[in-house]
């Protein structure tokens, strides 16, 4: 008798058996993680350079890449406020940038800033004089109608959406003569493009008209393009105290919750570990011997088989009478009735009806028949 009775593998054996699969699993998991991180889309949503949706702008981004422009998509504000000389910054619409965020972008000395459907706050900081006139321009193919070189070279473009009124110093194109959707102005040594029709640059509409040429001409001014897609929580993450009140849940609760989760896990381990496995065994089938008889009783009841029930009760009662009175087994009904009537003093006609009569017509008749038969056999038993 030695340790051979032990069940399962020892620790060393388990390690020996499991190390290779563990190693392979680790390598595979690590590899997958690396690939995922390497290929992960850095941006998402409308006008994102990584999105292939109809509202995305991956087509434009790859066109720019093909023309030698290095497109860097980002959702982080800190990429948009980095050193900006000799680089282009594109700010996609959306997000919740505060005035100070815009000011930081303005302070970053970008050579060229492209604002896609900017908010009034952005226009105030980066493009003073340009006004959002809150007038939707109907969708249509329009001529540049200005002397901006990039626009003139592109020819007609399909534009729609917001239009702006421009100061006299600016070059304003693609409009109805008063308001325009593409405006370029040069202030504080940088070029600012305000584009009110970002839909023209999406995957869906880039191929129509001269949209692609216009986009390439506008964005391809520098070899590096930072494509910033603002997010809605970016202003909070930047630590801006001006907007956004105190969060409803104090941040400490999160750590307590994690500690609690760990405690629950440990308690679950404690309570959940059983002392050895459950032992199973084959059990015999248990059927009550009277099952078939009970089943037949239910069948009688369900099909209202009063005739069969009455026949069984009568036959049983006659059998008991046979025994009690010593009547021969094969006696005629008349003989039985005569004998029993003589012994019990009952009316032979009624006795005949009781023992050999018609089946009961309803449940009440069956009940009374059963009671009468019962009485008769009881009487016989105690003469």
């Amino acid at each position: 008798m030695s340790a051979t009775t032990a069940v399962g593998r020892s620790g060393a054996e388990s390690w020996r058996v499991l190390r290779l699969p563990l190693l392979i699993t680790c390598v595979v998991v690590l590899g997958v993680l690396v690939v995922l991180i390497a290929t992960a889309a850095r941006t998402s949503g409308p006008f994102s350079p990584d999105s292939a949706e109809p509202t995305g702008a991956r087509a434009l981004a790859s066109l720019l890449e093909n023309h030698g422009v290095n497109v860097v998509g980002t959702e982080e504000l800190r990429d948009a406020v980095g050193a900006g000389s000799d680089r282009t910054l594109l700010v996609a619409p959306g997000g919740s940038l505060s005035r100070s965020d815009w000011q930081r972008i303005a302070d970053a000395r970008w050579s060229h800033v492209v604002l896609l459907r900017p908010s009034a706050r952005a226009l105030e900081v980066l493009a003073p004089g340009v006004q959002d006139v809150s007038l939707g321009l109907p969708k249509g193919s329009r001529a540049p109608d200005c002397d901006l070189k990039a626009a003139v070279q592109s020819g007609t473009a399909t534009v729609s959406g917001t239009s702006y009124s421009a100061p006299d110093s600016a070059q304003a194109c693609y409009g109805d003569g008063i308001n325009h959707t593409v405006i370029r102005l040069e202030t504080e040594g940088r070029i600012v493009d305000v584009i009110g029709s970002p839909r023209s640059f999406t995957n869906a509409e880039l191929a129509t008209d001269g949209n692609a040429a216009l986009a390439l001409n506008l964005l391809g001014t520098h070899l590096e393009l930072v494509w910033y897609v603002p997010q809605y929580e970016s202003s909070n993450a930047s630590g801006d105290e001006n907007d956004g009140g105190k969060p409803l849940i104090p941040p400490d609760v999160r750590y307590v919750a994690w500690a609690l989760a760990f405690a629950v896990f440990v308690v679950a381990l404690w309570r959940g570990r059983r002392l050895g496995p459950v032992v199973a065994e084959r059990l015999p089938v248990i059927v009550h011997a009277a099952e078939t008889t009970e089943g037949r009783a239910r069948l009688y009841r369900r099909s209202r088989a009063r005739d069969r029930a009455a026949a069984a009760l009568r036959e049983s009662a006659i059998g008991k009478l046979h025994k009690a009175h010593g009547i021969p087994r094969r006696a005629e009904p008349a003989a039985v009735v005569t004998t029993v009537a003589a012994r019990t003093g009952r009316d032979p006609a009624m006795l005949y009806e009781l023992l050999y009569g018609w089946p009961p017509v309803d449940d009440a008749a069956l009940m009374s028949l059963s009671q009468e038969l019962d009485l008769l056999t009881q009487e016989v038993r105690r003469p």
């Binding site: 750590y255 496995p277 032992v279 009550h288 009277a290 008889t293 009841r301 069969r308 069984a312 009760l313």
Partner: protein, 430 residues
């Protein structure tokens, strides 16, 4: 690997620590690290359950309803093992003890007893011994199992033993040990002895008297060395539960009483349990070995959910029995089964042997037949009456064919079968 309630309490204290002192990721990290470290240290310090040496001794058989004691010897050649030990058996082995507390210092041995009260007949095999060894700090430990095989056989209970003395007394009456010296059917010549006044003069052997010179008497005794074959139907008819046990168990009880009685009467008893194939087979054991061998053979017989093939039964019985014998068939009295499968094949058996068919009746049917309180019960009574009438009809058919039928409630089947045997013996039909 196991953790204890203490580890849970430590982790819970960690929640308070994080909430009050370090509401940072670092705080969570500290708590997790401390708990994991303490548990790891404890696991490393705990004695290994795998190194324990286990062996068993104790009872291997027990009558159903009685208690078996199996002892587990645990020796620990290595570091102290402290914790719990569970001796796992299947549920129907009826383990009475909670897991044992174990505290086994290096080099010591312990004797742990497990008490079993099996709830079903048959072999019960020990499953595993699982040891949980908790480390010295009491936070975590190791757990391991050992396979220490042992089998306890739960034997048929033989509850009808209590009827044996009275039947043996009646047997002695038959047997000539009391003054019953009349020659008749079913007796055979025993010996000659001197005449004592009061003896029946008809028993005087005149020829021997003439030879010896004094009056000599012949004595007679019931026939001995007859063969009794007990056949238990282990098919679906025996699976039905009557009272608190299947028909099969009641049949076994009756078979054991009959076997004990017939052995005392000097007859040779053999046993066959059969459905579509033979489940238990004991052929004419030595008289002192009859009950043990029967009980052992029957311990593992369970009712199978198949229709008994009476052709197999009849051919098996015919093959075993040479001389004229008593064949006792313990089965159900299901009219359809009897008429369709037993009656067509029982002919050869009846021609050569005396056949008794014993069946366990269900008291539930009588109960159903006697209750008339409402409509539901009346239909029940009608159905029960129909069942009884059918049984009576098939009993009549069997009796006409020459089969003696014993149909009794579970409490009475064993003594009734014994009485039938005695009556047959008295009538000299064996």
């Amino acid at each position: 690997m196991v953790v204890t309630g203490r580890a849970g309490a430590l982790a819970a204290a960690g929640v308070v620590f994080v909430a009050l002192l370090m509401p940072r990721w670092a705080g969570v990290g500290v708590v997790v690290a401390v708990v994991v470290l303490v548990c790891l240290v404890d696991i490393l310090l705990a004695g290994s359950p795998r190194r324990l040496q286990l062996s068993r001794e104790g009872d291997t058989a027990v009558r159903l309803g009685e208690q078996a004691v199996v002892t587990l010897l645990v020796a620990n050649p290595r570091r102290r093992v402290k914790g719990l030990l569970r001796d796992a058996w299947p549920p129907s082995a009826g383990v009475q003890d909670a897991p044992h507390q174990l505290d086994l210092p290096t080099g010591e041995r312990r004797r742990l007893t497990t008490h079993l009260v099996p709830t079903r007949r048959g072999d019960r095999q020990a499953y595993r011994v699982t040891v949980r060894s908790i480390g010295p700090l009491g936070f975590a430990g190791r757990q391991g199992s050992h396979n220490v095989p042992w089998t306890v056989r739960a034997l048929p209970p033989f509850k009808s033993r209590k009827h044996l003395p009275s039947r043996l007394a009646r047997l002695r009456e038959l047997d000539g040990r009391t003054a019953l010296l009349v020659r008749g059917q079913g007796t055979e010549f025993d010996s000659l002895r001197d005449y004592v006044p009061g003896d029946d003069v008809r028993s005087i052997d005149w020829r021997a008297t003439a030879r010896r010179g004094n009056v000599v008497l012949r004595t007679w005794r019931p026939e001995r060395d007859r063969q009794v074959a007990i056949v238990i139907d282990s098919g679906r008819m025996s699976a039905g539960r009557v009272g608190d046990a299947p028909r099969l168990d009641h049949a076994m009880d009756a078979a054991l009483l009959l076997a004990a009685l017939a052995t005392r009467a000097g007859d040779r008893v053999s046993l066959l349990a059969c459905d579509s194939e033979v489940r238990a087979d004991v052929r004419r054991p030595a008289p002192e070995d009859v009950l043990p061998s029967f009980v052992n053979a029957l311990a593992n017989v369970d009712a199978e959910l198949v229709q008994t093939d009476f052709r197999v039964v009849v051919s098996q019985v015919l093959e075993r029995l040479g001389q004229r014998s008593l064949v006792v068939l313990l089965t159900g009295l299901d009219p359809a089964v009897i008429e369709e499968s037993l009656l067509p094949v029982i002919g050869p058996l009846l021609r050569r042997h005396v056949v008794v068919l014993a069946s366990v009746a269900d008291p539930r049917l009588t109960e159903m037949e006697e209750s008339h309180a409402d409509l539901i019960e009346i239909y029940g009574a009608a159905s029960a009456a129909r069942t009884r009438l059918d049984r009576e009809r098939v009993t009549a058919v069997l009796t006409r064919a020459g089969v003696t039928v014993v149909d009794e409630n579970p409490d009475h089947i064993a003594p009734a079968l014994a009485d039938t045997y005695l009556a047959l013996k008295k009538a000299g039909r064996l």
